[in-house]
Symmetry: D2
Subunit: 348 residues, 4 copies
């Protein structure tokens, strides 16, 4: 038995934090040695999250107390703007980082600063960071010191597009539409009127039509994969009254060629976390609840020859956040990609 990976989690009071802790509790090679929170320093983790009673003896510490430099890996589960301030020092001390916030996701700094409304604190680290869509960048992730874990929408939208774009099958000049639906946990564990059960429950609405921060992130991926696609991308996110789960419905124009579900199936043959279902299937978000999975189907729109409909589902807190972060950790530390991530979805 080798030494476990010593892990610190910065900002563990939110949903991605508690989800990391849930997943890492089942990981045979990981040991969480520090959790930090400025506001909750001194509180026992198990008092803060009753689901963790009996699982962890840890107490929230301030970043100073936590001595994160002794960790092998630090996850940032912080609001945007925190990791970029604290990462450089940890990197200098040889610690590896997976950042679940948006601080290192966009290589175009000007775009980042415009969408996130702040100056970036460490542009050089951005240049060094690897975009952590695991199935797209495995080799680079393995070698990276810092990984920018993707947003939930970008993960859910990009995974089905990746093989099709690599194969050059998208018609250029036609719009690529992503109509996306997210559970409310995507808004995080912060007190906001719009996320109240009485506001978001029994209700459905679009939001962020004028522009959502995940739009440039998806465009960056699209541009890297097939030139000319990005400009035609339309993205409309919606809020759906459930806790976990994300569903992307994509409308694509494909050039002729072999059946696209075969392209996807070939591409993901060795990817344990992408499940390409048969055409005609309608993946449900609950079929991935709590698990690090993306299930996808693709089929022609009824009565059309070149318009295709892609359905893609993830658990936004798992494959869309904490699960993919652990998957990236596995890749970074040379472990089998599915180590500690084999739990079966919770249904019903």
């Amino acid at each position: 038995m080798t030494q476990p990976i010593k892990i610190g989690i910065v900002g563990a009071t939110g949903y991605t934090g508690v989800e990391l802790l849930r997943l890492l509790a089942a990981h045979p090679n990981a040991e969480v040695t520090a959790v930090t929170s400025r506001s909750e320093a001194g509180t026992a983790l198990a008092d803060y999250f009753p689901s963790l009673r009996g699982v962890y003896d840890l107490v929230f510490q301030t970043p100073d107390e936590a001595a994160l430099e002794r960790c092998d890996l630090v996850f940032f589960a912080t609001p945007n703007g925190v990791a970029m301030k604290e990462a450089p020092q940890l990197l200098a001390q040889g610690v590896r980082i997976v950042d679940l916030s948006a601080d290192f996701r966009l290589q175009d700094l000007a775009a980042w600063e415009q969408w996130y409304g702040m100056s970036h604190a460490c542009p050089d680290v951005v240049a060094q960071a690897v975009y952590g869509l695991s199935e797209m960048n495995r080799d680079a992730i393995a070698a990276a010191q810092i990984v920018a874990n993707p947003g939930c929408y970008p993960t859910c939208v990009s995974l089905p597009l990746l093989p099709l774009l690599r194969a050059g099958r998208l018609k250029t000049g036609m719009p690529l539409i992503a109509d996306c639906k997210s559970g409310v946990s995507g808004a995080g564990r912060k007190a906001a009127v719009g996320s109240l059960l009485c506001e978001a429950g029994d209700n459905f609405k679009a939001y962020g039509i004028g522009g959502h921060r995940h739009l440039p992130e998806i465009r960056q991926t699209l541009a890297a994969l097939q030139e000319g696609v990005a400009p035609g991308f339309v993205f409309v996110p919606h809020l759906t009254p459930m806790i976990r789960g994300m569903h992307a419905t994509l409308y694509l124009h494909l050039t002729d060629g072999c059946p696209p579900d075969e392209i996807l199936r070939d591409f993901y043959r060795d990817s344990p976390f992408v499940d390409v279902m048969n055409p005609g299937s309608t993946p449900e978000t609950r079929s991935v609840r709590g698990a690090n999975l993306c299930r996808i189907s693709i089929q022609k729109a009824a009565g059309h020859d070149d318009v295709w409909v892609v359905l893609s589902v993830i658990d936004n807190l798992v494959k869309g956040a904490a699960g993919q972060a652990v998957q990236n950790m596995n890749i970074m530390f040379g472990l089998p990609e599915n180590t500690g991530l084999q739990n079966v979805p919770l249904l019903p």
Copy 2:
């Protein structure tokens, strides 16, 4: 005070039935004189629907007992295939009919028989029936003896398209995409595993991708309004974990011209039940909960010049079913269109 309209409701044990009863209880010119149900004959309405205790003294009757021919108007809130059998005799006796099922919605009988899997019992009545999208066909509805009340999806999709198509603003040759989301009450009050709280709750999925019965109904409306649009229509319905509410997200290619929200606002200036909101708005389903309203916004897709996003919400049981049926009744009987339909949405 004139005589009230004497009303019969056939098949009042489902959600559209109880919703008709809720709305008609507040209608100053209507009196429900008979409710029929073969399975519940003899049961007091108030025992069957506890929300109606103290509101109605009626008892479910068999169709024979009910003597529906004495009614001025009969609503059919029955499964598909019932109204077509019972309507001809009532019509012959001078009774007017609003059918909330699909029996008289499609003028193309072959298409109807294909989609609904049965032979039509009275093709001549189909020819005579008026499609009851109130805002489209007011004059014909006023004169009709039988009105085919539209489906919920067709109402939610067609209302925003109606002014744009009439104005000839849709680009032909480009797909018109309708990504629609429905609450579970759209599936009706029948025991089906897929509608259980434990199956449909905390879950999101597409369905009917291969073809949904409302597809030909919407195409019929589109074709009537602007030639050449119908073939490019893509329709994907989704099930969202809420009781009431329907949200359509439409992706359109418009030709240049005056702002489309102005076209909508002009068109619906005298329509009390269509609310055209400002561009940038995101109508919520709960903002119409329990009310006979359709709220609509239209705006350009971020970063596009000719792709527009339309958001349209209704309560599927009200403007998508029982409310529009009462609206049609008002039109048929020369009453102000909003009589008895002015209740404020229930929020939260």
Copy 3:
């Protein structure tokens, strides 16, 4: 047609505020002439609550702008501690008041100050205020200048007890247990982590076991009705994952005598908003959703001779708040008690 009652609403940005506005829109004798909010002054009511688009032209005003002294009646839908500061001046100007907060509910000032953690600003007004449990205090309400509208739990618990206590049927010396369940809207429309969909959804828990502010309010009512009952009262509130609705399950020891459901039925014979169901019935919260109703059943606990189970349901925002406030307004202004309050519950 007489002059409408001119109405002001102070603090109309919360759930009881919007519910008052919904109900008053349907009231034939009421005209809302002012809505105040310090934080939202200048915002159109219809922009703030999209469900009110097309219903009200009002704009939120500061209390100063609103000139509330011109109103016939002012509803306070404010957090605790506001009405007690603003009521005295309005009362001095002859305005009548219904306060939906807790400021005037407890006659025992020391208890009030202990439970609400502040000094009371106008003890003399407390002495003058009438406790607005409509069915208990009709005559006093009719004559009152200021009515303290009851809390939701006290309404749901007290209505079934009122006839039994008046009849002296509760055994003294035995505990009276109220196990209560509330929808999340009872917590109000304020940004609080505990009310998030992701915290309160798909979850059930007790709260306030050590003592809830509605406990002394219920005890005050019990003590007024039958001496010796209050000390034995046990109250445990729970939070249930729904928006509206409150359910009280009471466990009582009754002395022998005529069937208690008959006592309730006799007592409420002329009360339009209390529905005594047959023993064996299990009232559902949705059977009163959106309506000013309390439905009650009472039956022996299976296998017991003197233990009885009472089930009582209300919509916490209607009979538990805004609806009862309008009912009290009707009583105060000599209108039939059910004026404007006859809407049928929204089911499903």
Copy 4:
């Protein structure tokens, strides 16, 4: 590595079936070798439950095809009345059984036949069956050939009472009240109107007041633990709009003595699945979601000396069904009790 336990699951199409499959997939010593369903024979398990795609290669078989006699252990996840017909033959062939239905739970056959409305097919097996409340009957379970897995309510109610009754702390002659709340999955995965999202969602109600089948089961446990308690037991179950979770609120009269939370804590010191929380705590159902846990707190009712309030939560599908069944399997096969059952609750 020893041989895995070969497992068959009879009736694996319901919620307890899929939950067993989820849990057993993570069990290091178990191998599911057969799943049976008469109605779904021939269907791949992964097609039936999309959450199991990639987890199991099994296909539903008829009981005959399945050759269950080759299994070491058979779980019955069938409707009541099935196991009693099929168990005797399997027992005769040396197979061990955990029955998740109610067939072997009541030792009083007359009571069983009355509550379940059928004649019992194998009274002798009832006599031999061990009631599988793991923490109560560990030794007998270890030696049993057939275990009657408890109902969800009996588990949630009995676990907190077990130590108090064993210690003789309940006052006789006073009622013991159990006000219980269940998520809808307790009603199983069968098409029933009452379990529809549109009926059970956003709603709260009591049910089974006249008598619920779990009442005699709880009484049997109470009677075994402390004479004289059972007659005073009052049980009212409620349906709460969530998928998983069960909450019992108990009202007890205790004799004086050491703090009852200490009694519970001592009793459960070596029980990995019972978590006794501090007095003042309010356990939430979501804190055990998906995990084989019962969390309990006990405290005095506010203002009372001898009335105590117990709060007890479980996931009805795990500790209330499939999880306890696996726990019993572990005990029967001499494995550490928590083998394969250490997953962390899913929160949010």
